[in-house]
């Protein structure tokens, strides 16, 4: 099986450690993941701001970059959701029949926890992370992809990790892509409540499957000097006794 890593533009430019963690983790599990260098972005920033014409060349680049692979794995519920649920709409709206069929023929895109649990069939990935952790289920992984408790099953199998339940976990953190700046005041009000719930758990690390949401919640927590670190699920799952 040829598996391609879609690292996402946010991780590529801002959180390379998350991409490296996915590579480490998948190799440990016997998957020789490849990184198609032609990839850029899933086009979600344009799509969700309403710039659908602008999204067309980005979607076109996406399908050509990942052509020929058996599966795409990505450390982002939101970007997986865009590839699975929005590329078709962008293609149809463009009126380009070849793009419509190319999108339909594109390899299946899996969010990391889906790939681990459903495709590889593992829950214990051999990780060791001796910290007190709470988990925020990001909206698109929860309600677009329906990953359910897969990330929690993975976290519960991590040795040394103590998992504390996050109050009001399923409520949006307020990031919302360009919503975070177009409606900054509302976004921050939502983020402040999420940060309060995180602090209430007493966790030292907040884990989620989307770095964009973590960048927002982490940005609020940092401004509050809350002393809580945010980490992507991939980085927790990649950690082992020898490394940490």
């Amino acid at each position: 099986m040829r598996v391609a890593l879609m690292v996402t533009c946010v991780n590529d430019a801002m959180f390379p450690g998350t991409g490296q963690a996915v590579v480490t983790l998948l190799r440990r599990l016997g998957v020789d993941v490849e990184f198609p260098l032609a990839q850029t972005c899933c086009a979600q920033p344009m799509v969700n701001t309403g710039y659908l014409d602008e999204a067309v060349p980005v979607v076109r680049n996406f399908v050509s970059a990942f052509e020929g692979y058996d599966a795409i794995v990505t450390p982002s519920g939101s970007c997986a959701g865009c590839a699975r649920h929005q590329h078709g709409m962008v293609a149809r709206r463009s009126g380009d029949a070849s793009l419509v069929s190319a999108v339909a023929a594109a390899p299946a895109t899996y969010e990391l926890s889906e790939f681990l649990v459903d495709v590889l069939g593992v829950e214990d990935v051999g990780a060791y992370f001796p910290h007190r952790v709470t988990y925020h289920p990001t909206c698109h992984s929860l309600r677009m992809l329906r990953v359910g408790d897969r990330p929690l099953r993975l976290l519960r199998a991590v040795r040394g990790l103590s998992l504390t339940e996050l109050p009001a976990a399923e409520e949006c953190c307020g990031f919302g892509g360009t919503f975070a700046v177009k409606n900054a005041a509302t976004s921050v009000a939502m983020g402040a409540d999420k940060a309060r719930h995180v602090r209430d758990t007493g966790a030292e690390v907040l884990v989620a499957g989307d770095n964009s949401c973590l960048m927002h919640i982490g940005g609020v927590l940092s401004r509050q000097q809350a002393g809580v670190r945010v980490m992507h699920l991939a980085e927790v799952l990649a950690a082992t006794e020898t490394l940490s």
Partner: protein, 493 residues
């Protein structure tokens, strides 16, 4: 009444003001979390809830697909049972019909059943201009009306008020509208309801004409249905001589049997009750019993425009339950007034642009962006309106309507340059090299660190300040993932 949504600022500005209102935030957080929990409990006990949702959506979709024939069937059935049917293209026509009926009976007041359609068309204000007082008889609508206020929720329009505020409104304003509040009125809910009951009773007994909406209009039997909790609706629908019902054309369902699905979906989704206390149904005139003159105003007011929108037409399935408002994290913090319409929250964010059209005013165009696209509304909707997808579609329509406009050139340029950058990996790589340089600089110059050790950017120039005013941002790394992969052959060297 002087309060009006006309001239409201766009959502971001209105939301900023609302977010600073501590009383509003407290009232909303308490009310929405209470009703969310009630809804969740009664929905969980229905084993076939998902099948009910699918059935509700299918009935509405099929009906909307043949709306023309169902409406004509409804008109014929209503007229056969003695009602007069009026067709109104817009708010002005609908208000004119109601006013002319009132004038023909020489009345200077009407009692009202809570109705979104009459709020939407501004009926009370239109009647007031003709010297006709329209008395709201739903408790929350009464609070809004006496407070010279605006509704902030579809189901509980005074959700932004707590009982202490309500007591003050009753004490200061009831006397001007009829029977005054008792001198010893407390903020005990039962005492407040008692004062409202006494105040309203004399209006019920005196009024010669009532105005209602309808939750459903059954085409084959010519039956109108009003679902309510307080019994004020039952009073208005049975006591006055003349009854006028303003009904949106999307309220039609083909047969009485279809009510089976909706009367299960609606109360559990809206008030979190298994069954609502009062369901009134009436099919034309019954001699000697109830109103002896009945009018039905079938209202378009943008509904055919919404119906023509292939993605957006699903919004016409809406049964005005408010479940989407109660689960919306944006609504919970801003309240309803920020949406500048009688339809606030997620459904308002799509319904207003669909009814009014985009590219006309900034306020309406701001509504599709008043969402983080978290999807909680779609999950809660009893008729499966995919609100996030409609929001994205409407955003695209707003962007297309604005193409070439100077006022939004900045955002358009940013999106175009992002699209250009993401068009090929070579361009992205170039941009990432630039941000890598920034990362080097930040590592040397920035002292502030995030938990975990990365440098934190805390003060960005505009437009980045929209982020950094309240949130730190990690400084960019020195090396992108792509550069790392190339340099190390994917970590192998």
């Amino acid at each position: 009444m002087t309060a009006t949504f006309v001239g409201m600022p766009a959502f971001p500005a209105a939301a900023r003001a609302a977010l600073a209102d501590t009383q509003l935030r407290t009232n909303l957080a308490h009310a929405t979390s209470t009703i969310r929990a009630k809804r969740a409990a009664v929905v969980d006990e229905v084993a076939d809830w998902e099948e009910l949702r699918v059935a509700g959506a299918a009935i509405k979709d099929n009906t909307l697909h043949h709306l023309d024939t169902h409406l004509v069937t409804l008109e014929a059935a209503l007229e056969a049972r003695g009602a007069t049917v009026h067709w109104a293209r817009d708010a002005e026509e609908a208000c004119a019909v109601v006013a002319s009926i009132a004038r023909s009976h020489g009345v200077d007041e009407v009692v009202k059943v809570k109705s979104m359609a009459t709020q939407e068309i501004g009926l009370n204000e239109a009647l007031a201009e003709q010297g006709i007082a329209a008395w709201e008889t739903d408790l929350a609508e009464l609070i809004v009306q006496l407070g010279d206020d605006l509704p902030s929720h579809i189901l509980v329009p005074a959700i932004h008020r707590n009982r202490a505020e309500i007591r003050e409104i009753f004490r200061s304003s009831m006397a001007g509208a009829g029977r005054p509040a008792p001198d010893d009125l407390t903020d005990d809910p039962a005492a407040l309801a008692g004062a409202a009951r006494l105040h309203l009773r004399e209006k019920f007994l005196r009024a010669k004409m009532a105005v209602s909406g309808a939750n459903f209009a059954v085409a084959d039997s010519g039956t109108l249905v009003v679902v309510e909790s307080e019994g004020n609706g039952r009073m208005c629908l049975t006591l006055p001589e003349v009854l006028v019902s303003v009904v949106g054309i999307e309220k039609v369902v083909p047969t009485f049997r279809d009510l089976d699905v909706f009367l299960q979906l609606l109360p559990r989704s809206s008030t979190g009750e298994r069954m609502n206390p009062y369901t009134s149904t009436w099919s034309g005139i019954t001699p000697g019993d109830g109103p002896q003159e009945m009018h039905v105003v079938l209202l378009d007011n943008g509904r055919t425009r919404a119906l023509a929108d292939e993605v957006g037409r699903q919004a016409l399935r809406c049964i005005r339950c408010s479940a989407c408002l109660n689960v919306c994290p944006v609504y919970e913090r801003t309240g309803g007034h920020a949406y500048g319409s009688v339809y606030p929250g997620p459904i308002g964010a799509i319904l207003n642009p669909l009814l009014k059209g985009v590219g006309v005013d900034e306020q309406t165009d701001s509504l599709p962006y008043a969402s983080s696209l978290c999807g909680a509304c779609f999950d809660a909707c009893p008729v499966r309106i995919d609100i996030p997808t409609v929001l994205v579609e409407l955003r695209a329509q707003v962007v297309d309507a604005r193409r070439g406009s100077v006022s939004h050139a900045g955002e358009a340029a940013a999106m175009k340059s992002a699209a250009w950058t993401f068009g090929t990996s070579r361009r992205l790589e170039l941009v990432e090299r630039g941000s890598g340089v920034l990362g080097h600089v930040a590592d040397r110059l920035v002292r502030r660190t995030l938990p975990g050790g990365r440098r934190a950017l805390s003060r960005l120039p505009w437009p980045g300040s929209a982020w950094s005013d309240a949130r730190d941002l990690p400084a960019p790394p020195r090396e992108s993932f792509r550069a790392w992969w190339k340099r190390t052959s994917g970590g192998r060297s």
